[in-house]
Subunit: 503 residues, 2 copies
Amino acid sequence: MRKLALAAFFLAVALAAPAPGQDLRATVEAWVEANRRPLVEELVEAVSIPSVAADSANIRRKAEFLARALERRGFAAELLETDGNPLVFAERAPEDPVRTLLLYFHYDGQPVDPARWRQEDPFQPLLRDGRLADGANALDFAAARDLPPDHRIYARSVADDTAPILALLGAVEALDAAGVGLSSRIKVVLDGEEEAGSPSLVPAIARYRDRFAADAMLILDGPLHQSGRPTVSFGARGILTLELVVFGPRAPLHSGHYGNWAPNPAVRLAQLIASMKDADGRVTIPGFYDGIEFTAADREALEAVPDDLPAMMRSLGFAAADRVGDSLQEAIQFPSLNVRGLQSAWVGAEARTIVPATATAALDVRLVAETPAETMYARVRDFIASQGWHLVERDPTDAERAEHSRIARLTRSAGTNAFRTPLDHPVAARVVEALGEVWGELPVRKRTSGGTVPISPFVEALGVPALMVPTVNHDNNQHSPNENLRLGHFYDSIVTIAAILTM
Amino acid sequence: MRKLALAAFFLAVALAAPAPGQDLRATVEAWVEANRRPLVEELVEAVSIPSVAADSANIRRKAEFLARALERRGFAAELLETDGNPLVFAERAPEDPVRTLLLYFHYDGQPVDPARWRQEDPFQPLLRDGRLADGANALDFAAARDLPPDHRIYARSVADDTAPILALLGAVEALDAAGVGLSSRIKVVLDGEEEAGSPSLVPAIARYRDRFAADAMLILDGPLHQSGRPTVSFGARGILTLELVVFGPRAPLHSGHYGNWAPNPAVRLAQLIASMKDADGRVTIPGFYDGIEFTAADREALEAVPDDLPAMMRSLGFAAADRVGDSLQEAIQFPSLNVRGLQSAWVGAEARTIVPATATAALDVRLVAETPAETMYARVRDFIASQGWHLVERDPTDAERAEHSRIARLTRSAGTNAFRTPLDHPVAARVVEALGEVWGELPVRKRTSGGTVPISPFVEALGVPALMVPTVNHDNNQHSPNENLRLGHFYDSIVTIAAILTM
């Protein structure tokens, strides 16, 4: 059904018939064009407040600044106190809302290493006439005559994730100016600890459950697909981290005196890892991919993602990808078993002629909705045991060493589960439609994003369908020095959010 | 023939018939008993001279001290100058020598870390009434009434390798006192750089070739078999070290965004290592063990080595050994492929959720006489190439990354070849017989020692059959803090050397 509707919409676009949403786009774009300076000035003011989660005094200043800004746009706003930084909560509703949407943003930013920034202070925003990597010049913001789309603001937290908050403010103001009403009850929650793992978010549910009640949650965070096209993501993978230590002799042994006789834990670890994956990178642990199926609509969405895989491979420096899926998008619909680190004794100038005592692999298992952390931990553990390994949870005792020829220690993190909202969920489908209508092309639909987001446990605990609607430029240096926002992306995100507010 | 002779000798011992050598033993032991104090005093004086190869002033003092000590025992002694520390060369011959023996020792010792020693100065020898690890007490050497066999001297270089030099001096003096003549022309070379890899030894051949001419070389260095029985080793394994780096993406990638798609070099390295060895630790590279065969006499010698393998495994902390051979002694007759180190990205608290860019294995290939370094390097390299790997000698270029799906860098050391003298070589067999005669039991015969010795290139370059005759206690803390010599082993080594000098 939904697929038919989307196809019909596409047909309309193809025939250049007047499509719904084009009026809205023109209205909002005109308002943005006329209000570039105040929009950017308010953003600059917001990101001038240091926003590292550990800096509780400044982060509270920023929370209060944003609460007041929301109030100025007709929201009822308050700070919800937690054991950590406050959440900003705000609400505004039309008379007869179609639904309730919970919009999530975070107002904290990554920690900074000022020495690695190309400006004096990551919290003194700098305007540049393009991309630093392309040799852009710094401009005097106060004197800048114009703020064209290719200009950028360099500052910590500007793209991740303050700009989307300011874009919401702009969208509401633009709609109010045009006399266009909101269609949904809008609840806003601003997280002040996302870059610290959002430790206060799940506990806040117990205290503020009513505030968070909604038909769907939209997470306004992250960059657009690298094609630059509007993007909606229906979920995110979770993660379970594991450490696997294989034990050899009690202490390192001289490789001359004992090599060929004492068991080598580095070789044994290599053999164990090799037994878990085939030459194409597919996991061979029984059941690892159980339950993963794609509908025709899923396949259509996956195939429509405009990844330029040959260009990506050239850029990333490899000639052939693993074959877990037929494409990157398909691959990340599956759980992964990634060896993120190996260590045994020494290499390079430090190398010594020994049989090492231990060999360690750091693993991460990226989870999908069908493969929760507990299940996957059990599958990995049971597989290792089935290969003849005696598993321990601390160093083996003398008795264990005397009894078992293969001993390994497997330890784990608690894990963060994945979430995924079905492509045909009514709100999800309506967001896709609304973005298609306003932009004249269907957004990139990511059935699951590959990475893991701190919001996942909140989504799981609330039990509300969630979508991610990223808006900023892909090359924003997120989590790195010289984080930046391309102004054109900021202006467009106001249109995107206006479409959601009125859908 | 030789085997029959040994069997006949054994029979003689078994019947308690008066065996040749027992008179010699009684004579030398009586002399040693009467001369314990001057023997140990001279040893203490020798090891009081700091002996680290880099300390050229002191090491020359020690060379001169030892040259004078040899002269006092009737040797013509001289210092042979090299580009490094001098060699001490000395020679003494009977009127009608049966053969010429070149006796090799080294007068330098390992570097010291005084903070880890349980005495003020590793070059101020300390007498203890037993083993430090058993709680032995330090004694006043000057006041010690007796110097019984279980007392020990703690000092750097005392066991490795000064005591054997002093034992030679004692043996000559004891024989002279008893009026027993030497049977062979005895040439002595003392190396002053063994612990630094003996860099001046092979170059010295060009300048002093005549001095080194001999029918056989005996290397008087190292500990007895841990059973404490007299020991002769017919060779030593060589070593080739390799570094294998597997390349993944050009830079580490986010394991969420790219895991399951970007090839993981840690997994690929594990698979490559796993393809080289089977579950029993046997190398599966074609030709790796080619040419290795054992005669019946070889097997007899290997089986006669009194290794207590179950006790060793308990002590070393593993329940099952690799199965390259049926025993430790058999295993070290084969070349080994040892993974001595692994490294890729980070583990433990440093672990990051990435697909690493590279994964490195440090390998050592222990060589035997049948498997020289060049051949083994080619076998490993060709095997890796046959598994579909493109091998480079530096980091891959962009073009190589775009063309080859499996890229690895294999680098190597020059390598040190093994040496091995046949068990039935006349001088080797005579040494075994002579030790059997004087001690009343056949020595432990190690067909090949597992470790690699810096003397190997000298043996190879001279082209002289070489044997190792170790004499010091197995628990001497060689190369570690608190190096020590059990006096009983020192006294016995004088008997052993006397047997060789008169055989």
